[in-house]
Amino acid sequence: MTDWLIVLTIGLPWLGALAVWLTGDDRPDQQHRLAVIFSVLAGITALLLIPSTSDSVALRIDVGSVFGDFTFVPDGLGVFLAAVATVVGCLAVVFAVDYMDGEKQLGRFYSFVLLFIGAMVGLVLTGSILLLFIFWEITALTSYALISFHNDDPKAVAGGIKALVMTSFGGVGMLIGGLIVYAYLGDYQISTLLSRADELPSGVLAALAFGFLIAAAAKSAQVPFHTWLPGAMEAPTPVSALIHAATMVNGGVYVLARFYPAFEGVNGWTTAVTVVGLVSALMAALMALVATDLKRVLAYSTVSQLGYMVYAIGVGDIFASQFHLLSHAVFKALLFLSAGAVIHSVGTRDMREMGGLGKQMPFVRNVFVVGSLALAGLPILNGFWSKELILEGGLHDGPVWAYIGMVIGAGITALYTFRMVWLVFYSEPRAKLHVHPAGQMMRLSTGILAAGTATTWLLIGLFGELLEDTLPFHHLHVEAGTTLLGDVLTAPATYLALGVVALGLLAWWFRDLLSGVAASLRPIGDAAAADFGFEWLNRRVALWVTTAGESLRTFQTGSVNWNVAGIVGALIVVLVILALGA
């Protein structure tokens, strides 16, 4: 039964991808319908998996040779994330029915979205590191294909290739991990690594741990690999919501959480994870503060929020990080989709041209504000509970300097969130924009997500129980849901954080009075606007590689004399090497 549910949850979207593709672009209505049907079905099967979570292998396929067994383990962590991927996935598809209506090549769009959903489910449910890597790469490929969906636009093409190359570069870290586990422990099973990590030589285990950290940082857009995510915003907005906010970018956080028991003992690993999370959270929040493109603000905010999750893993609070992942997936998908409704309506992403849209789009404004309050961490939305859990855990188990940084980050988060809401929906209209009302499907999907933002924190007890029961290597002791919520409400840390959030809000409110302070912080703002130099570094690396390729061309002279000289030269070198070696 469970094995069939797993096969269906991965297979239904893939089947849907095939069906949409075969339908052909001359029947767009049929394509919309098929995409919705298959993604909703996948969502249902994923939810049906929740009652059958367990820590044992539910499906095993013997691939033979050096490829080991492909296994699937429906444990709490995997099943929960599979549910997030499919449910947010089907909402994004529903949203796309309005958003993508009238676009050409719908088949390519939906096929890749559905392919992605299936791959994401596989990624979180598999128990084999090789298969994890395979799904990891498939999600990167679909992400690339969708970022470059408008592939007549050079920006979309460049953004797609950047995302593909950077995440694949990180993927090498995971590839090494898989190879090490197979070569030293004999199979690819995650459980093998978690139970026998201490058999690995310490240097090898360290390579493994840091390899996974690189892979995770690249996938989850953490410093210094975060630069691909803003470029990925060229994707159609439902894709940004699904892949680049709610699901794929969580892959890195998921992997860190999944392998934490094996790596926590590696010297310096937890500190490195904490620092990556802290720096990403703070830097990206600053970048969000100065960005003017609505989707970029949300992208930086995603990097920053993922930084919170990574930080939580660094301090050992796996439960809090995964709980925030759930909250963030819901409220960030909401923010992206409602931002998409705005962009679709007014035809620009530049917040400087917006303003006063709240009156014309009251529904979108309302749901966007719900998402924003959750992002800022105000009670009683889901973002509040999960962020407070992270900060509380950080205060107890992590270094104080990191905690202070994260609290400051929470303040900046509130500041940029209010700035964004204000620039888009309030203040005076700054440009004459023709506003269309949001479509029914857009309202439906954002409405559901807004309801989720207000309520998913109620799942805290169930989520904790599932993780505790089905992750034998993590030794989690999650308290009952009500206790956890009570703790959050009574902890002094909560009020400290809320105070900082209020400061952020006040800073935006009294921004005119604070203009002197703002001016003195100008250099930081400029540095943030320039992406703290990481973008420059990226370009240098790309330039260096292409220059190397270009200059090598001089050696392909096309002249036979030189070619033969090359052959003879190689002979001489080889003979010398052989003579020296003999």
């Binding site: 040779s65 498939i138 590839l175 090494i176 190879l179 590689v545 030189w562 052989l578 070696g581």
Partner: protein, 499 residues
């Protein structure tokens, strides 16, 4: 004289068929040229029968030997692998060439040379002594010169043919010198006897190994002996590009492995040398491909990097005396044959539709490809599957074969080799930077002028593309499908080291 066995028929049939095909084309009037393609297809089709029998004989009774006078042919699992690759891709290419070459003059020469080349490569895989090996190797070169320079009115084709000829000849001289040295030192040419007769250290034999490495390395496109390859692969008719890249350079590699495995006992670091060449091939091939604007030239450079992966796997096998590396290297040889075959055939289909069928022998550029998917969906899909497979994206065949090589590298637990594997993986990432834009161009919405003006694509040409595309996905999903070829071939190579 012993009785002809199945595997000798497998070699003889195409060789006997080649002159017949030529004569049909010359003598039968008025439709002789059209008949040649059917004759070629039927002959290669028939060759599958002795191939299948030989494969089952090999499986049942072990290595097959056929002796004629003092020369003998030996079919082992490595020979079978090369035979499967050349016959498989050869059959597909002959089928593909039907529509592709239909309008060209001199088809009788084309099909006769192609069929002969297939037979010769199968013979090369079965050569049991150095002299035989050299003769087959030269015969392969002769057949392929004719095919590379097939468009002999085109100056660029002729130039490519001449470079290929001259550089191969230099390589052949080195090989011949090497053979002379081996004969003078060991008194035998038989590969197994050389192994037995070779002293533990001998400077002339070391020099012979170096000469073999460079001499065969020219044909196997080891950097820096590769300089003939970009011209030859891009100027040849597309079916021939597929053969050159998918089988001919691999045949050179097999020849190299045969001789090195005979010299494995003389204490030289062949494995390390192969791995170093592999590293150069991967890096240089990728960097050169990065800046190419012509599709076939780009694919030609990518062949360099793929030879690099094979060298890595085989080098690991020589270094560690373990079969895993060789199995991975041979698996990659097979998947590369399928992927690069598909890439060249699909690119050729687009070249045909956009240029050749218009009577224009210009190159196919990446900007020509813009929007090609709308008009030529199958060719575009084929090219996309092929290059994504070459880039090593799962779940396509190329990922699985690269993975097997990487696993072998880590199993040595040697940190230098592990670092080399990481280097190889990073090279795959680098290769995405030129494969992805290619795919991207195909699916643009705004078609290029070439696509707008392009002619129709014969639907028969899509059949070989579909066959290869399905195979690439199937092997990617079910990697043990080709184990029966690559596994025994890898073990045969290790066994031939004689330890």
């Amino acid at each position: 004289m012993a009785d002809m066995t199945a595997f000798t028929w497998m070699i003889a049939l195409p060789l006997l068929a080649a002159p017949v095909i030529y004569l049909i084309g010359r003598l039968v009037r008025p439709d002789g040229e059209a008949l040649t393609r059917w004759a070629a297809l039927v002959m290669l089709g028939l060759t599958w029968i002795p191939f299948a029998i030989a494969a089952s004989d090999l499986n049942a009774d072990g290595v097959q030997t056929y002796t004629l006078g003092t020369a003998s042919l030996r079919l082992d699992d490595l020979g079978l692998l090369l035979a499967a690759l050349s016959l498989g891709l050869g059959t597909i290419v002959v089928f593909y060439s039907g529509p592709y070459m239909a309008a060209d003059d001199g088809q009788e020469k084309y099909y006769a040379s192609l069929v002969a080349m297939v037979g010769v490569m199968m013979g090369l895989g079965c050569a049991a002594d150095l002299f035989n090996l050299w003769v087959w190797f030269e015969a392969m070169a002769i057949a392929s010169y004719l095919l590379v320079a097939f468009y002999h009115e085109q100056p660029t084709s002729l130039e490519a043919g001449v470079k290929y000829l001259v550089q191969s000849a230099v390589g052949s001289v080195f090989v011949l010198l090497g053979i002379a040295l081996v004969l003078s030192q060991t008194g035998t040419l038989d590969l197994t006897e050389i192994r037995a007769a070779a002293p533990e250290s001998s400077i002339p034999l070391l020099a012979a190994g170096g000469l073999f490495l460079i001499g065969f390395g020219v044909k196997a496109a080891l950097v820096p002996m590769h300089t003939w390859l970009p011209d030859a692969h891009s100027q040849a008719p597309s079916g021939i590009s597929a053969m050159l890249s998918g089988v001919v350079i691999e045949a050179g590699l097999v020849a190299l492995l045969r001789v090195l495995s005979a010299l494995v006992g003389i204490g030289a670091s062949w494995g390390e040398l192969l791995m170093v060449f592999g590293a150069f091939n991967m890096l240089i091939g990728n960097l050169m491909a990065l800046r190419q604007t012509q599709v076939k030239r780009l694919l030609a450079y990518s062949s360099l990097s793929h030879v690099g992966y094979m060298l890595l796997g085989l080098g690991i096998a020589f270094y560690a005396q373990q079969a895993a590396g060789a199995e991975g290297g041979f698996f990659h040889m097979l998947t590369h044959g399928m992927m690069k075959g598909l890439a060249f055939l699909a690119a050729g289909a687009l070249l045909y539709a956009l240029h050749a069928s218009m009577g224009d022998h210009g190159p196919l550029t990446i900007s020509d490809l813009s929007g090609a998917a709308q008009k030529y969906p199958w060719a575009a899909l084929g090219l996309s599957v092929a290059v994504l497979g070459l880039a090593g994206l799962p779940p396509l065949a190329g990922f699985m074969s690269k993975w097997q090589i990487f696993v072998a590298g880590f199993e040595t637990k040697n940190e230098w080799i592990e670092a080399l594997v990481v280097f190889a993986a990073l090279n795959s990432v680098l290769s995405l930077a030129y494969y992805a834009p290619l795919v991207n161009a195909l699916y643009r919405q705004k078609p290029s002028d070439a696509v707008l003006a392009g002619g129709p694509l014969p639907s028969l040409m899509n059949v070989p593309l579909a066959v290869l595309g399905v195979a690439i996905v199937a092997v990617g999903v079910w990697p043990s499908l080709l184990d029966w070829l690559s596994g025994p071939a890898g073990r045969a190579l290790i066994a031939s080291f004689g330890f």
